[in-house]
């Protein structure tokens, strides 16, 4: 999966709303809209039916409501924890190790050809 959404998936409307939300007391329990859900689903590359859009909209809004209490926690001057252990830059010698045999890896590929994974057209 690419990390960058292709052209046309970014919606300025949502970003503007996000800034408004972030500027006001955050996590204010504002319900997600159908467009929000479609935007998230597009970023996550999951196709949704109309029924699913509504169901996830209601469920995700409900879950986000429960997170609102976090906004009240005083985190001024608190460093974020990305990882529970005080580890940084674990180094090892740069030694070449054997990789998995290519055929073993491609054995699970839905479609492979000449030693490559094969996909359908990337450009429309």
């Amino acid at each position: 999966m690419p990390c960058i959404a292709p052209e046309g998936t970014r919606r300025p409307g949502l970003a503007t709303r996000a800034r408004v939300r972030a500027a006001s007391p955050i996590l204010d329990g504002m319900a997600l809209t159908r467009d929000d859900v479609l935007h998230i689903a597009r970023l996550a590359r999951i196709a949704l039916s109309d029924d699913e859009v509504e169901r996830f909209r209601a469920q995700l809004s409900g879950i986000l409501d429960h997170f609102a209490a976090l906004a009240a926690v005083d985190t001024d001057g608190v460093e974020p924890t990305a990882h529970p252990l005080p580890l940084a830059n674990v180094m090892r010698d740069d030694v070449i190790e054997p990789s998995l045999p290519r055929d073993d890896v491609l054995a699970n590929a839905p479609l492979a050809e000449d030693g490559y994974f094969r996909v359908r057209a990337v450009l429309e």
Binding site: I46, F67, P80, H83, L85, V90
Partner: protein
Amino acid sequence: MSDLWKLTAHEAHEGLRRREFTSVELTESVLERVALVEPTINAYITLTAELALEQAREADAKLAAGTATPLTGIPVGVKDLIITKGVRTTAGSKMLENFIPPYDSHVYENLRRAGAVMIGKCNMDEFAMGSSTEHSAFGPTRNPWNPGLVPGGSSGGSAAAVAAGECLVALGSDTGGSIRQPAALCGQVGLDPTYGRVSRYGIIAFGSSLDQVGPIGRDVEDVATMLDCIGGHDPRDSTTNPEPMPDLRHYLGRDIRGIRIGVPKEYFISGMEPGVAALIEEALALFESLGAVVDREVSLPSTEHALAVYYIIAPSEASANLARYDGVKYGFSDRSAPTMWENMEQTRAKGFGNEVKRRIMLGTYALSAGYYDAYYLKAQKVRTIISREFAEAFEKYDVLVTPTSPTVAFPLGAKVDDPFAMYLNDIYTLPASVAGLPAISVPCGFSDGLPVGMQIIGNFFDEGRILQVAHAYEQASGYRNLLAPME
């Protein structure tokens, strides 16, 4: 049919060592038990009976040659997100229904080296997301104490298999309670090691700053034996602790006089069943009678925020980890549309179940432009506060004792359509997960005929201490080897 399946792993080891029976006989006994109860329980996604008998024969050769370990010839269950070379590994998902791994996970490598016998791959909530094992693409697992109830989750298959005699001991994985909660609901012992104690090499990733593999067994000695086998440094997982594993057996059988036990009052909340509260109080009285010093007035004020912190961070990490399921490299693939992008969207729409989609979208939202600071970064900062409160508590106490789950096992279907009600099952297990601390759940009695678990949380890499306290409790209470009656 022989009764060998009723033995704990260490009892079976003694029998094998003394040549009272062979591993093949023991394995056949377990496989007969599986044939009898599996149609009801559904603890396994894939049974590996032929492989098990082959491994049992190898184990008998090792036993004869005098090169056996405590796990040689012992039938084990392995949660189906632990990669096993040549044996289908699904993570409970349609996405990996036909995935045959080309390599072994670190933990399975170690089990094989120790001579363990794998009975099969245990059922689980899809990608370990759930607390009831109902979110499995292969059907729910049922609780051996009452098949109308869930076994807990996500390692529900592992816990149910141990409780029903379908293996002697099993491996599960714990991200927010997925070993401890099902162990509690099935009356077994479950240990979530310190983050970094056990290598995650070859473990299908869910939340990478939280995931740990750990054992579920019928008594404390068996989970200690399993941790001894799977734990330790692995250069293939740079988060593993480079220090050598302590001798865990050294802690078993030691008294707990003078051990300082803290009981955080924030864990005794409304919504907790009275039967659970009463049993924890009984256990605390037993600790005092054994000479431990119990302080019931400990406060960890940010406990209530662990739920939100976890359900922001874990889905965020999951949304990144599960991006790899694109229908290109391995796994389910829907290629009905003409472009790659449509293929990916359809593959993920049809390959993932509802809870997985919900969490991927939740995490995607929390990480998206404009929301990152409000959700993900905020959760990471509150995570720091939760960790600090634990660190302060461990300056005064050796271990912390809490309930494992606010309730006993609940009926199938009761919470499956209400995601947040399901998330509340984890309120007592999430804080230690968020902090990366080791914690064990041990059975502490029955409420309405159903098992209740007690959680013992320890300091970083202090599994020995929680095993010592758990073992002393187990010996004094007699709550061990609780096989579900299944009659």
